[in-house]
Symmetry: C2
Amino acid sequence: MSEAAAIPLDARAPVGMVGGGQLARMTYQAGIALGLTLPVLAEHPDDSAALSGAATSIGSPGSLEALRAFARECQVLTFDHELVPPAHLAALEAEGVVLRPGARAMRFAQDKAHQREVLGALGIPVPFNRRVASVDELAMFGDELGWPCVVKAITGGYDGRGVWIFDDPRQASELFASGREFLAEAFVPIDREIAVLVARRPGGETVLYPAVETVQVDGMFRESVAPAPMANDLRVQVGELAQRIAEATDATGILAIEFFLAEGRVVLNEVATRPHNSGHYTIEGAVTSQFENHLRAVLDWPLGETWLYAPAVVTVNVVGVSETDPRANLRKALAVPGVHVHLYGKGPRPGRKLGHVTALGDDPGEARERAVRAARLITGEETGGLP
Amino acid sequence: MSEAAAIPLDARAPVGMVGGGQLARMTYQAGIALGLTLPVLAEHPDDSAALSGAATSIGSPGSLEALRAFARECQVLTFDHELVPPAHLAALEAEGVVLRPGARAMRFAQDKAHQREVLGALGIPVPFNRRVASVDELAMFGDELGWPCVVKAITGGYDGRGVWIFDDPRQASELFASGREFLAEAFVPIDREIAVLVARRPGGETVLYPAVETVQVDGMFRESVAPAPMANDLRVQVGELAQRIAEATDATGILAIEFFLAEGRVVLNEVATRPHNSGHYTIEGAVTSQFENHLRAVLDWPLGETWLYAPAVVTVNVVGVSETDPRANLRKALAVPGVHVHLYGKGPRPGRKLGHVTALGDDPGEARERAVRAARLITGEETGGLP
């Protein structure tokens, strides 16, 4: 609530985005319709958003000087990642730069220990956790809570990176050799994973997207199915938790909240204070895309509606399996009926997110089948006759 | 069918667009998702598409040299308008430049007399017409067919420009003072206007979009309602005519065909060989937007499906009434539920198309109400409290 309400149009861009990845690319694309030209601060001139035509400043999110220079061109800064050091965020705010989300909200995504501590204290169900800095401390935690144990990097982890599962504390000796502190967590026997997007304006107004079921492979996001097939009481509970978390973080823009469903309970998994892979389905599947609502929220404009345009909306990531340019197989994928293909312009390599495919339909299984087929035709995992 | 089938990826852009208006802007936006970076040949650096981030060459569509230089950067050229002189199109094709649509197809949009003559000879219902070059010739035509008479510029007219209705031949004396030839047409007592989009690949494969009802004000396109409320036999007839016209023109890409419904008959009004205002509704309202299908067709990729995502999809143009920047009122419009706003980045002035608004719904009247309200809030014709 410390942020100013409305932003007048002046010579600076109304909003600029730190980071030049696919989230910035799709935010840029959404901005075109609103007459916004979103400049980005990217590390490389061939970053995804730079290739989409965004005015690009080259600079590291770790450089306060680069951030300052970029901030001078924009009325408000927002982010496509959590990689700006908290001290830089604090320095920028102290200098009067408007950050949306602000440093305080970003910390919930940047510092897992802080996130667990603050949200846990508010009664949000988080996994039982403790900071550990040695094999002995992990052993004590695991012997108390039971094995296996989850160990997470407190900062810097994402998409499965920075998460380990250990059956025995000695397996973690290499990890602790760095002298760093980690977060040990009780292992949650996950039945399913759920994600909820919230868009929130500076004044606190929010809109909630329908909960989606998500599928991870090796910790990396791979699929979403909207709406998540789940019992109504759980749906209500997840929505209420998401609202409370949005309020607690005081975030502006899109907030993506991931939950575990485990033995009938809802447990918080992760919080991201930016557009998120679990919300790509909103581009075609919801009245207002997460990217447009992120811009609206960051600009303190009225938020758009979030209902679905079809009974089932399935999004499947295109993840590289080789060095093949995804555009080489694109025409095969476009022969699959009713699929929306998004390529990010990124150089192909195995394990890299190169794009995604969304399909709308009446039945989630049928829509998923089309989306998976198109994604696998692009990567070359399936081959099809050339139409 | 003279065009090559598939286009390999090489150092040149797969496709470039001549013209930098809002059609190029929205085509560029659609291309981002497909990993295409569509360069444009624009007349001014602040043309709509140039502002959207498209790599922009500055040059006039009337300059063969500018067209040649632009063609060297692209494997295929397509167009956001019909303003390239036919002789230039022919010259480019003679030099081996791949034009999609080609010069032959473009002529149907560029030369109304040719269009009427060729399509009329194929049995397509066109208004009775004759070339006239003087008041006397017009008088003879009108006395034979009855007054009022419609007089059209044979080339260069669009969006109501280049069309006159005369009750008396003497009213046309100023027009004929130029010595130019015009097309005189029998006045059609229009009940309603209908538009149909066809996307067509070089090999002849087509997909047809649902017919929409359109509303013109002073000859300028203002609204579309999809699907057009019309009797099924007329719907079938319109679809068949559109298919036959697509075949006759041998066009590649989007072909927009406008019809009059007059006393239960279908009469051809206009043919455009490019994305069209009557298809803006497809961005959110149809499975595949006209802009994506234009790119797919021009690249000879499989065409996307064309069914509607809602029972009613209404698009209303934002037409300037003053010098007010449409972005100034944007936030008011975004408070209207479920509207998709598109601004073209164009400088405001009365009578200029500055953007459009699309609303999906179950009922066309209700959806139209929302779209009209949002459009009028942007222009300032309506005022609303600041949300």
